[in-house]
């Protein structure tokens, strides 16, 4: 490093980075338990502040320093405003965006080092190139994921031979990377083509993946960015970056696996095969008809129930209905009805998405149950209220082997005595699969946008006396 003549600064910096690594790991550890989670982000935040401040040590007052401060203020300022303003429902795509920025930063570090073209050994070159490839894929891939969740990109672009094309791009990028890493050719042209290919690969990899799979993809890119940061940490000989990046890399990989498992799909399946394309045609139309119900009748049914289980889904998030849902639940509780919330691991657009929204509305978390805890209880429930959830309560996952979601763990809402489904229309779920639950004899459909429908239910319950 250039700062090697400033030994005191180097010593303080090295000591500080050890403290930073400790703060990050402790912070993440605390974030994995509800009781300490809020303190966890403060620990990690303190680590980030220390890491940033000590990096300024020994910096000379020149153009570079001005650019560092300027870029930090602009980038950080924009992120601060957008992060404060974003609605809870749009959180997943915002995380995708911030994650992509991290990947882009890792790629930028590699770009600065690679364009310089210094010969610094194979390990240096290989990790710089690998971090650049992963970081660039994470940047462009996360942007596509953002576009899809934000509704900017509506179609899943698919054509035959797509995987071959992706492999081809990856292959050429790897070969170019090898030539750069070994120092065979480090010309600016080579490096530029390498980066363009990596960015294109992120786009072509992500475009064919359906919106329902985006949580898994975002989690995967989060893990990948961690790896890219760790690799660039080696390039810059910075232990804090290696440790933080690697911890996120492995934690993110585990989280990705947990999500894919909850959807009963392997990671390869998510990345390389379309969801519900040919398969939805294979599953024939379900016999019977959907039976509608008026909000007034549904409200009376709930008012005189012993026990009701609420199953929220993405529709609740879109309708911003979580506050109204909690109002309805409190109203029923005051009448002596036992109300519980059942959360499927992949309800919404991210695992835990529904928990965050219900927490926002003030629902205490001991009323909220996981799939394993609650499934046996549906048989004792008088009413199961499904709000904008679809595939996660589809019984074909249990009994139709031809269905693409066969084998996915679902909430057994169909076993409740009565099922009321709040839904905008008669369309299919995100996977495009017909939902057999909607056609059952004990199911009634309450058509309408989530917030409005729940509001009608509240009025109906109030009027029930």
């Amino acid at each position: 490093m250039d700062f090697s003549n400033l030994s005191a600064a180097t010593l303080i910096r090295d000591a500080a980075y050890i403290l930073v690594a400790f703060l990050f790991i402790t912070g993440l550890k605390r974030m994995s338990s509800p009781a300490t989670a809020r303190g966890g982000i403060l620990w990690a935040g303190l680590g980030m502040v220390i890491a940033t401040l000590v990096t300024y040590l020994g910096a000379e007052p020149n153009l570079n320093l001005a650019l560092v401060i300027g870029a930090t203020v602009v980038g950080g300022g924009l992120a601060w405003v957008s992060g404060k303003r974003v609605a809870m429902t749009d959180m997943p795509q915002m995380i995708a965006l911030y994650n992509g920025m991290g990947g882009g930063a890792a790629a930028a570090i590699a770009a600065v080092e690679l364009y310089r073209g210094e010969e610094r050994g194979l390990a240096f070159g290989a990790l710089a190139v690998l971090g650049a490839l992963i970081g660039a894929v994470s940047l462009s891939g996360s942007c596509v994921a953002f576009g899809k969740l934000q509704g900017l990109i509506k179609k899943s672009f698919r054509f035959s031979g797509q995987q071959v094309l992706n492999l081809l791009i990856l292959g050429v990028a790897v070969i170019l990377g090898l030539l750069i890493a070994t120092g065979y050719n480090t010309s600016a042209l080579f490096v530029s083509v390498f980066f363009v290919l990596a960015l294109v690969l992120g786009v072509t990899m992500t475009l064919p993946i359906g919106g329902a799979d985006m949580p898994v993809v975002i989690s995967l890119y989060n893990a990948l960015t961690g790896l890219a940061v760790a690799f660039e940490g080696y390039v810059l000989q910075n232990a804090a970056m290696i440790i933080a990046g690697m911890v996120v890399g492995s934690a993110g990989t585990l989280l990705t696996q947990l999500m894919a498992k909850a959807m009963n799909r392997s990671l390869g399946n998510v990345l390389f095969s379309g969801f519900g394309e040919a398969s939805s045609a294979a599953t024939g139309p379900v016999s019977g008809a959907q039976k509608p119900i008026e909000a007034g009748d549904a409200g009376v049914m709930m008012a005189y129930a012993q026990k009701m289980i609420v199953v929220p889904g993405y529709g609740m998030a879109v309708g911003q209905a979580q506050h109204k849902v909690w109002e309805l639940a409190q109203l029923l509780q005051n009448r002596g009805v036992t109300v519980k919330f059942a959360i499927h691991p992949v309800a919404g657009r991210m695992p835990g998405h529904m928990n965050v929204l219900l927490a926002e509305a003030g629902v205490p978390y001991d009323l909220i149950s996981d799939l394993e805890e609650i499934n046996a209880e549906f048989e004792t429930a008088d009413v199961a209220l499904i709000i904008g959830a679809n595939d996660v309560v589809n019984p074909v996952a249990r009994n139709d082997k031809s269905s693409p979601i066969y084998g996915m763990p679902i909430l057994d809402a169909d076993k409740a005595k009565n099922v009321i489904v709040i839904k905008r229309g008669q369309g299919q779920g995100f996977s495009g699969i017909e939902n057999a639950l909607f056609y059952l004899d004990n199911t009634r459909m309450l058509y309408g946008e989530a917030q409005g429908a729940v509001n009608q239910l509240i009025q109906a319950v109030k009027a029930a006396d």
Binding site: M1, F24, L28, K29, M31, P34, A37, R38, A44, G45, M48, T52, T55, N64, L67, G70, A71, T72, V74, G75, G76, A79, W80, G83, K84, V86, M91, M94, L97, Y98, M101, G102, G104, A105, I109, A111, V112, A188, I218, T225, G226, V229, A230, E232, L236, M241, I242, I243, G249, L254, L255, M259, M350, P351, G352, N355, A359, G362, P364, Y365
Partner: protein
């Protein structure tokens, strides 16, 4: 940093990440993904180092973009994680106790 030591650091940090996450309840998956997203915002340190050493227009431009992106990752990651976890504080406590 010598290569073998670096490999040890990579390996041990990898195990640490796995262990820290392995017993996390579903309720915290999204905040935790967001939190880990914030932690790799430490890339800001690297981007700053790269820009401090940058020479010539191309390196300066790329370095500046890198620092801006990294700052966005760190600050944005912190803000959204903090907002999500803020809600967990209010739930459970402060609610009427007699809901069971």
């Amino acid at each position: 940093m010598n290569g073998v030591i670096a490999i040890y650091i990579f390996m041990l940090a990898g195990f640490t990440g796995y262990e820290v996450i392995s017993r996390v309840p579903v309720i915290l998956h999204t905040p935790l993904m967001s939190g880990s997203n914030f932690v790799h915002g430490v890339v800001l340190v690297g981007a700053m180092m790269a820009l401090f050493q940058a020479q010539g227009l191309l390196e300066l431009v790329i370095g500046t973009v890198g620092v801006a992106l990294a700052a966005g990752n760190a600050v944005g990651g912190y803000v959204v994680t903090e907002r999500m976890l803020e809600m967990f504080k209010s739930s459970g406590k402060g609610q009427r106790g007699g809901h069971r």
